[in-house]
């Protein structure tokens, strides 16, 4: 099995946080892909022209900033709510794209083809979540069913969807996201920003920042303990590593949402 050619962590984080509607999935997805290709081109332009450390910093900073800027511009144009926290996540998406290009991808990689395929799955995920939440597709009212629930907008379904899409992509492209011992540190690049952006519970007994910090610490603690156990499980190759860890994060959010 080969490594994935698309920016896995960036797309995973994008699916977790930005697949609530079909429109959101479409726009954030294409802009993340643009950022990844932009990072590739910047790396190619700077290669052999500047020292390696300069090339690394330039690609990271440029891609992060360009990704954050174009996403913020798109949000402003569409009249969607923006915040500093959201800008931070957009910046992290850009940094993850740059990270993939700098350390995970290869120069002759066909990033576009695999990214486009995963983007299609991302859009499908947005469509399904929007339909199950509101009975709408792309904002157009379709049907009202009893099974529809606003809970499908919850981030826990983002985690579940992200894990399933990555597993499907792995089986499609014959790729993997795990190391030989089955442990996947890459999950931290996805899980930590997601937990910092949105927590499954709040501790109202303390000051806001203490409550948020405590919630983040608790979720991470639970996640790490689950991750240790997962080493001993034997899921199918396509599911090993990041996909199953994202699935377990989704279930963790589901349980902690009770509070």
């Amino acid at each position: 099995m080969k490594k994935a050619k698309f920016p896995v962590e960036a797309i995973a984080l994008g699916i977790i946080l930005f697949s609530k509607t079909m429109q959101e999935a479409m726009i954030v997805g294409i802009l993340v892909i643009f950022s990844a290709i932009f990072a590739e081109e910047i790396k190619r332009i700077l290669k052999h022209r500047v020292p390696e450390w300069s090339e690394t910093i330039s690609v990271l900073v440029l891609t992060g900033v360009v990704c954050a800027s174009i996403l913020q511009l798109a949000y402003a144009f569409l009249g969607w709510e923006r915040s500093l926290k959201l800008w931070g996540i957009h910046l992290i998406l850009g940094l993850l794209c740059a990270r993939h290009v700098l350390w995970k991808g290869r120069e002759d990689d066909d990033l576009l083809r695999q990214s486009a395929a995963v983007w299609g799955l991302w859009i499908l995920c947005g469509l399904i979540r929007e339909f199950l939440s509101y009975g709408r597709i792309f904002g157009k009212e379709m049907v009202q069913w009893d099974i529809q629930s606003i809970q499908f907008q919850n981030v826990m379904f983002g985690f579940l969807a992200s894990g399933m899409i990555l597993a499907f992509a792995n089986s499609l492209f014959k790729t993997k996201q795990y190391k030989k011992n089955g442990y996947c540190l890459d999950a931290m690049y996805v899980v930590i920003p997601a937990i910092c952006y949105i927590q499954p519970m709040k501790f109202s007994a303390f000051r806001e920042w203490i409550g948020i910090g405590l919630a983040i610490f608790l979720v991470l603690f639970f996640f790490l303990s689950i991750q240790k156990k997962l080493i001993f499980s034997r899921p199918a190759p396509a599911w090993r590593g990041l996909p199953v860890e994202l699935l377990s994060m989704g279930f963790l959010y589901m349980i902690l949402n009770v509070y």
Binding site: I30, F34, I37, F38, E40, L78, F138, G139, K140, E141
Partner: protein, 310 residues
Amino acid sequence: MNNRQLQGIVSLVIVAALSFGIVLGTNALTQQIENGSNSMETEEILETELDVTGSQGILRAGKTKANTYQITSKAQGYGGEIIVDITFDENAKKILNVSIKEQNETQGVGSKVTEEAFLQQFSDIAAPVSFNGMVAETDGDFLENAVLIDGTYEKSWETADENGFTDQVRVVIENGTIQSVTWDSVSEDGQSKSKMSEEGTYQMTQDGLSWAEQAKALGDAVVEDQSLKRITPDYTGKIDTIAGVSISVSNFVSLTRSCLAQAAQIPEQTLPEAKEQEGTAIDGISGATVSSAAVVTAINQAWEFLKENL
């Protein structure tokens, strides 16, 4: 420039163009969908749209093709804003129809404002709207030549409000004059609203007088005037004649009136009738006074808007 470099630049340009296209296209598509779903509503006011800038509580207003006026008005309910659609006749004096567009009231209590039983009261009635039993004009003059008998007179409201508080008024008469008028509201478990507001456990707003202070101001006004002449609530039950008093005073007026009638030994049924109110009196929802009042406020806001702008 080798093939790989060219391929990279072409990919970047294609994806950039695609991104632009998707952002612009989805925006146009969703706007089209929103306009389409709103077309049913906008058709009603396509004829003429009125300017609502600066009008408190009015979200949209206009004249329909059927020569009726359609106003969307909002007022603060118990759980948030209640948005109401009101249809007036061509003279803007009669309410033809009222529907609740949006509300976040307590399920089973305030949410009853959406029920047909409450809304059908507004069908084909004269505006403005008030509640049955609400005193809109002063009738304190009934005490002018009356002799008040010394004693303490107490009256309580028949039902508790939606928060479980029952209004009570005590009037003390000494030497034929009103010495004190005390208004309190007591819950089923004996908690007094005035005591709670003094302790800070019942707080209405950050600024302004507390409930206890407002109740005291009302009582002091009656003692000063030796009548209720300064306390003349409007259709919402509020007054603007005593500084700092913003709570509904209808119950206070009714109970004080009863106490004074008892002190003057005048049977209540012989008291002069309150002056006839303009508009129509309707029944509020028992236990959902705030929600009912919000709907009435929204309707009357719309009526006043039309009165001022036509």
